[in-house]
């Protein structure tokens, strides 16, 4: 069984676009909604693409803007200019 990686985002206007992009780009991901926040779990790996998020926001998006709505993560992070990847190595 591969471990789940997770990300929790606030229910903000920008985060809606991020959540939508993440759910489209990671077909195995599952989103659970709670008051004020959304938790997304995905087996083994989760990718956040700058281009998909910018596309939905209708403006340029710096990936580090994610810090404004990030609540929690579970997994090893790797970030460059175009994408953030969250993964377990096991």
């Amino acid at each position: 069984m591969s471990s789940l990686v997770s990300i929790v985002l606030q229910n903000t206007d920008d985060a809606r676009a991020i959540i939508d992009a993440v759910m489209t780009d990671n077909p195995e991901a599952v989103a659970s909604r709670y008051p004020a926040m959304v938790k997304i779990d995905s087996p083994g790996e989760l990718v956040m693409n700058k281009a998909s998020i910018a596309d939905r926001l209708g403006r340029d998006f710096e990936l580090q803007e994610i810090h404004l709505c990030l609540v929690n993560i579970s997994g090893n992070i790797d970030e460059d200019d175009d994408r953030i990847v969250l993964r377990w190595n096991s």
Partner: protein
């Protein structure tokens, strides 16, 4: 003027290049002093580091980006705080009982944020490597921000509700606040590598999600927009802190095989200390939130068993295993919130927040969420106390409890195999007998007895006459507890009377 420039603008640096310039190119070597004098704490813990440049913050945050995003977080938060107070947001909470969670927060948690600020400033000075030093310095500033934003947010509630008037004084003196204080003082008086294992890894990565995620979501569900906003504003930094915690652990493990047993011992110790500290969060989640989102048991399953399980599977390739006694902590998920609330109910006269017995609807919820424990062990106890209270004979415990030498919590927790038997352990050291709540706490003592014989145990201090006098009332005065207002039952409190006025007689809260 019209001549085209004959040079092209240099290419903008990418994220990795910017981070590398910050953490590789700006440091310098010392010519007047040897390195061990500049960094006197870096070796004594036995952690061997061969290449500090191997440490990398995976978010690769540089100072310009840090200031930009932190400023934006502050602007958003303070707009919410203003709006909340202008609109008398406290009137729209689910119930006045909720505010007791904020009383615990400002007296027991916000001082930890400030302690973390100091701790990270210290280790951010003392690591020989630039990457960890910068990450720790950013975190030190974050933690100061958390303490400040919590004070600012909660100061609005302090205008109306009791128990929040002197949190820093209380943190240093009140009996149950010795639990968070001793936890952080223990970490801050350790070496820099143990401090990061304690706070960045065991606390931030493994355990604080249990406080900030389900509890803050609960605050949202209970109408507290201001607290949700400072909570999530802090938590947005916390994701970066968690990442530092995971990276520093991997860094130590990758640098030298000899580091593995040292790190494992610290993980075992700080998991257990953190688990004990969280018993107060378990109680806040289950008992103090009037509208429930998720039980403590469910939170534990989601954030420790599932997320922690994945984390420790990932770390197993270094030879790291799940923390010692994790099974006991998991068995505790059915019990600790009920046992802790029952303790505060009995000692409500000595606490700076109010208590109550759960309503019938809450009891039904507990029975559903805790099928293996509530109806059997805890429901009947609350029923009994409720009957006593109805007949004018409210039970309160006048004895002073035995306190664990390590976690400083009264011995209130039970044996895993028998939830009706209190768990007690002891040992002898230099002819003195010391008492503990668990094997986990006794192990911690036995590894560093000279540290823990110095623990400030509130009950012993009271008996030694160090806490303002011999009587309860003198001790409570010494705590700066406003007697008759801050303590005792919610139902008879000024908080409850004021709430009633706002909602029944339409009295203007201003």
């Amino acid at each position: 003027m019209n001549v085209a420039a004959n040079h092209t603008r240099p290419r903008k640096l990418n994220l990795k290049e910017r981070y590398n310039h910050l953490t590789r190119g700006l440091d310098w070597d010392f010519s007047y002093q040897p390195k061990e004098k500049v960094f006197p704490f870096s070796d004594y813990e036995g952690i061997k580091i061969h290449d500090w440049d191997a440490f990398e913050d995976p978010f690769r945050l540089t100072m310009d980006a840090y200031w930009k995003f932190q400023a934006e977080k502050e602007r958003k938060l303070y707009a919410v705080i203003d709006s909340f107070s202008q609109n008398n947001g406290q009137v729209n909470l689910s119930d006045a009982r909720y505010v007791n969670a904020l009383k615990l927060f400002i007296t027991g948690i916000s001082p930890l944020e400030y302690a973390a600020h100091r701790g990270y400033a210290h280790v951010g000075r003392h690591f020989p490597g630039v990457g960890p030093r910068i990450a720790c310095q950013m975190q030190s500033i974050d933690e100061l921000r958390h303490a400040q934003t919590q004070i600012h947010t909660i100061s609005h509630f302090n205008k109306f509700f009791d128990g929040m008037h002197d949190p820093w004084h209380m943190y240093d003196r009140v009996w149950y606040l010795s639990v968070p204080k001793s936890f952080f003082d223990d970490a801050m008086s350790a070496g820099p590598f143990e401090f990061l294992t304690a706070i960045s890894f065991s606390f931030e990565y493994v355990l604080t999600s249990l406080l900030f995620v389900p509890f803050m979501s609960g605050a949202a569900f209970n109408g507290d927009m201001a607290t949700v906003t400072f909570g999530f504003s802090a938590q947005s930094d916390e994701s970066r802190h968690m990442t530092l915690g995971l990276e520093i652990i991997k860094f130590m493990l990758e640098q030298d095989e000899a580091n593995v047993p040292i790190v494992q011992k610290w993980i075992d110790k700080w998991f257990w200390r953190g688990f004990r500290l969280l018993s107060i969060v378990a109680m806040m989640t289950d008992y103090i939130l009037p509208k429930k989102v998720m039980s403590w048991r469910e939170s534990w399953e989601m954030y420790f068993e599932q997320a922690g399980g994945a984390l420790f599977r990932d770390l197993s390739r270094y030879g790291i295993t799940l923390p010692k006694y994790h099974e006991m902590a998991t068995a505790g998920k059915d019990h600790i919130s009920h046992q802790t609330w029952a303790t505060f109910y009995q000692y409500t006269h000595a606490a700076a927040f109010h208590t109550w017995t759960p309503s019938d609807a809450e009891k039904a919820w507990f029975t559903e969420k805790y099928p293996d424990s509530f109806a059997q062990y805890y429901g009947p106890r609350f029923d009994h106390w409720e009957k006593q209270q109805a007949s004018g004979d409210r039970f309160s415990n006048d004895g002073l409890p035995m306190i664990c030498q390590v976690c400083t919590i009264p011995a209130i927790f039970t044996e895993v195999e028998d939830p009706t038997r209190i768990s007690l352990r002891s040992c002898e050291h230099n002819g003195e007998k010391y008492h503990f709540c668990s094997d986990g706490c006794r192990d911690i003592f036995l590894d560093e007895p000279e540290k823990y014989v110095q623990a400030m145990l509130p009950v012993s201090q009271i008996f030694q006459g160090q806490c303002g006098g011999a009587g309860l009332s003198e001790v409570l005065d010494w705590y700066h507890l406003n007697q008759g207002a801050d303590n005792c039952d919610h139902l008879e409190s000024r908080d409850a009377a004021m709430w009633e006025q706002w909602h029944r007689s339409g009295k203007d809260p201003a």
